[in-house]
Symmetry: C2
């Protein structure tokens, strides 16, 4: 504990969180999501607990991929596979906060309910901030709470669109990119630069035509970049998530990447998560202040009366 | 001109830029890309020129869509169509700055060279900042220079991945989303929330099976959101860009959206572009300062010794 935390009272929320009580975890998440100060001691406790278990404690895995790649099905199959091995698993699913969402299109999530009677599985869905705006500081806080709560695996599933798709690499120890053989998905992932963030690649729906070609292309594409003996080449593995096929190879590949990172690498990832959270908080605050001071600043820039650099200086001085 | 600008000397770069000299424009873009102060009077001149022509002056169109949708081919066909109508067109293509890029995968761009002998077409390619990091302040500045240079159309083509895909709506008057019938692209766009940013939707490769279904789905999906008489429903139009088919309907739909926005709406869009640029500059500066002051701040957050809110406060106080 830090010196400025009040001592937790008997059976306080923090006590129960520290003891691994899942209802206390759920409550802590709600507090963090709401941005309440009451979440702060719990967040510190979570980080302290995670740090005390060393960098290898919890596997924090990001799962991303284009819509339609079968990300959710694969996550679901991964839960089942890990549970069969006795691992405790938490899943945090981040959905775009589309004005259209909230209804039927969240249906994918519902499949996860099949784990709902299992104490070893904890599933939570969060809205992303703004339309397609990437992972928020609060998402990072929920992730930290799950990591602190002592699950063996914490899986962050993000929709493969917009900033979330990119942020996932900063938020996790390992990133699993899910692609399909359809429509040259593999080559397109490569072309769009998204492959850079992948530590492991699943060619899902591998029973569809073109799977072999997609695997070959993804492997060949990685040979094109700069590399030396310290470069990690993302293993490319075939899966048919809907039938639970190939999950063993995915888990093996993730654990190989974990061995490759080593203690130091995993330690860095944890610090990077904290950094990402702090930077997101800083950005949010600056933008909030900017909205308060701006006046007709932007209109003046638009008319050419003021240049954008001067406007940025003015906002920072006022901030 | 603002009072603090020196008077341009005879045949100065600013003079030539104001006179519509394309070589002066190219030089101004290079200065802006390099972040040099010499770009500042040119940027103010560009904005002043654009403002003097009123909000309807230049059509600033964003084109986005998933990789493989045929975005570049459609942009190319759009240039040809607009040129045939005597319109002057500038294209700014933003590529992900993948470590892999820079070579063969920029091949799409090369097709645009067929316009290179045409004085009415100006094409420029920019790297996006960081991996998939969205549009930079400098991209916005290049866009402002093109708008000021008096083209009838300025087209911003962004890869449909990561933050760029989202930023395009803040950067332009109109956003054209390109989808294909393959792989349920339409429904997936809807599901991922990306459809919200579309003002016009092109179902490209409409000679492939499934085009009719994709059109129907995209139209039906829009009926699900909240709407009243002020809601714009994005027209869904079939194109076969590789054969130059359907471009007339796309241009008609864009011009309808322009009429819908009206003078006031277009004026707002121009201010929003300036705002986006200023906010991006502010964020860049804060992050730069944060890197300078951070010390072991992130490590302390990771160990639970400090909470992220306190760390954010410390960074802002130091900034």
């Amino acid at each position: 504990m830090t010196s400025n935390s009040p001592p937790p009272t008997a059976h306080s929320l923090e006590d129960r969180f520290r003891a691994g009580d899942l209802r206390a975890l759920a409550r802590a998440i709600t507090l963090a999501e709401s941005g309440l100060d009451a979440a702060r001691p719990l967040l510190r406790a979570a980080r302290e607990l995670a740090a005390s278990r060393g960098p290898g404690g919890t596997v924090v895995l990001g799962v991303t991929g284009s819509p339609g790649s079968g990300k959710s099905t694969l996550t679901d199959a991964l839960i089942a596979f890990l549970r069969a091995q006795g691992q405790r698993v938490a899943v945090l699913a981040v959905d775009p906060s589309s004005p259209y969402s909230g209804g039927a299109i969240l249906g994918d999530r519902i499949r996860m309910l099949r784990h709902h009677a299992d104490e070893g599985v904890f599933v939570r869905s969060l809205a992303s901030r703004g339309a397609l705006g990437g992972l928020s500081a609060r998402t990072m806080q929920v992730l930290a709470l799950l990591e602190g709560a002592g699950f063996d695996w914490v899986i962050l599933e993000t929709v493969g669109v917009g900033q979330s798709e990119v942020d996932v690499a900063a938020a996790c120890d390992h990133t699993l990119l899910v692609v399909t053989p359809a429509g040259g998905d593999g080559v397109q992932a490569f072309k769009a630069g998204i492959m850079e963030i992948a530590d492991v690649i699943a060619v899902n729906k591998a029973d569809l035509p073109g799977a072999d070609r997609t695997v070959r292309e993804l492997m060949a594409a990685q040979g094109l970049g700069k590399h030396d003996e310290h470069t990690w080449f993302a293993p490319v593995r075939r899966t048919v998530a809907a039938k639970g096929e190939g999950l063993d190879k995915i888990v093996d590949a993730i654990l190989s990447h974990r061995a490759f990172l080593g203690e130091e690498g995993l330690h860095e990832r944890r610090e990077r998560r904290a950094e990402f959270e702090v930077r997101t908080l800083v950005q949010d605050r600056v933008l909030k202040r900017a909205r308060a001071v701006s006046g007709d600043l932007y209109a003046r820039v638009a008319r050419g009366e003021l240049d954008a650099d001067a406007a940025a200086d003015a906002l920072l001085a006022g901030a």
